[in-house]
Amino acid sequence: MAKQVLYIEMENCIGCRSCLAACTQCGGHDNRNRNYVLDVDPFETRQTIPLMCLHCVNPACARSCPAQAIQIADNGAVLSALVEKCIGCQNCTIACPYGIPKFDEEQNLMYKCDLCYDRSKDGIPPMCASVCPTNTLQWIDEKELAEKQAQHKLANGKWMASQMIEPLESETNVKISLPGILQGKQKLF
């Protein structure tokens, strides 16, 4: 099976929050969602963007964990803290550059998006990508990803439209496509 990745086409998001609801239903997610849908500027536009763990190749959360509780699965998914190891220090929540890990004070336990590992390890899309009605969240293989990248390749060698600064802090396993409308670039699907 070709390696598949989560791909976020940000501008497609309509803010329905299906991904949040679906996240709660993943086996082991314990009825709690681990992703976010954020308004870009609610006073000006209806545009929303989903934000979830981007599964860094060199994850700051795992690097800062004193208990080595955050494991990285073979498909690159950065998993929730192992329940027996997590000591509740919350270093991971402070270290994450995107503010993703959540912490349950009662259970003294960190939890985060694990790319629905029980599904994605078998090539089944994560819950969020399964339900997204607008194809904002897609589960695609490397060939499809390359095609999408080629589609948006610009003369300056950059994949994304007119973005001056790097949108991410480091290489991630989840791939993103920035909202073109906001960048003044029209994308047609």
Binding site: M10, Q68, C89, D118, L182
Partner: protein
């Protein structure tokens, strides 16, 4: 003295074995009450000390671990330590909050193992033994001191003699509950591996069953097969001891770290909170924010932004909004609008 040992590991191993030796010397009244039938366990325990130290030192050397260990030790005598320790190490309140099934399973497994260790280690090292002066009356000796006298056919004596049988039943019940959960829980099914998650359960089952077989052999079979079963049981215990520091069971000796972590968070939060560089809300102790920045720095991860702040200096909602700014170019993080509708009901 500085150069007496080749490494930190050698020094600590020597110290621990020396302490064990002196404690045995004193506890067994100058080696007059060592139970030589248990010498295999003694050798196993000493090898375990080596393995444990090896794992522990490698672990404590990691920068984030080192910080929590050092600062946690300094803060050990906080007023809240007894309460936190009781909740984290005795009653497992946080596991109760994860569900009654997991809590019951963990109480049975955890206390089954800990009580067994409280019985067996003192017996192996000669710290505890029984003598009989008058017929029918046992004297319990602990660290060379006559602790109490009990009637050999009394209730207390019954509990003492059957302690390991009782804990074996506790462990077997706990293991069965854990194995059942591992067959049914989706996340467990997805993430578990034989070596890390299942083997420790099988090892505990192996120990408990062979231990109970010794009792069964005594009670029902007039000791038939006892020598063989006792060697198998000894094998099961020693293999588990050697495995302990390198697998899932390592969380038993490492768990007190959670008390350190709680103290560390509480103490420094009382001292000074870090104010979010965007919205000004105090979200974590200044010390921890600083420590995390240091730890990331040693890992060559730098989240210093053009705006002049480090990402670990933003509260979590602002950090998410700042990311939207980086995606879109619109200064979402400066907008007063709060995140809305982020929690779905499962």
């Amino acid at each position: 003295m500085e150069h007496a040992f080749a490494s930190k590991f050698a020094r600590r191993a020597f110290t621990i074995v020396l302490v064990l030796f002196i404690a045995s010397f004193l506890g067994s009244r100058f080696f007059t009450h060592i139970d030589l039938a248990l010498y295999g366990y003694m050798v196993g325990s000493i090898v375990f000390v080596g393995g444990f130290l090896y794992r522990f030192i490698a672990w404590a050397d990691r920068p984030p671990t080192n910080i929590i260990l050092k600062k946690g030790l300094k803060l050990l005598f906080r007023k809240s330590t007894p309460k936190t320790s009781a909740e984290h190490l005795v009653t497992y309140r946080f596991i109760w909050n994860r569900g009654w099934y997991r809590w019951t399973q963990h109480i049975l497994l955890g206390w089954g193992c800990i009580l067994s260790a409280f019985v067996t280690f003192p017996l192996v090292f000669g710290w505890m033994y029984f003598t009989m002066g008058d017929n029918g009356i046992y004297t319990v000796v602990f660290m060379g001191i006559d602790l109490m006298t009990i009637r050999a056919d009394g209730f207390l004596a019954y509990l003492f003699f059957n302690a390991l049988n009782i804990t074996a039943f506790m462990v077997i019940a706990g293991v069965c509950m854990a194995l059942y959960r591992r067959m049914k829980d989706f996340q467990a099914l997805a993430e578990q591996t034989f070596l890390y998650d299942l083997m420790p359960l099988y090892l505990l089952l192996f120990i408990s069953i062979t231990g109970l077989m010794l009792t069964a052999s005594n009670i029902f079979l007039h000791g038939f097969g006892h020598p063989v079963i006792s060697v198998v049981h000894q094998f099961s215990v020693i293999v588990t001891l050697l495995y302990l520091p390198f697998g899932k069971l390592a969380h038993i000796p490492f768990r007190p770290m959670s008390v350190f972590a709680r103290n560390y968070r509480e103490h420094y939060a009382e001292r000074e909170m870090k104010k979010c560089k965007v919205c000004g809300t105090g979200f974590v102790s200044a010390e921890q924010s600083h420590d995390v920045i240091d730890v990331l720095q040693t890992n060559e991860i730098r989240f210093k932004m053009e705006e002049g702040f480090h990402l670990a200096e933003l509260c979590l909602p602002c950090r998410r909004k700042y990311r939207i700014f980086r995606f879109t170019g619109k200064p979402t993080h400066l907008s007063p609008a709060k995140e809305a509708n982020q929690h779905a009901n499962g």
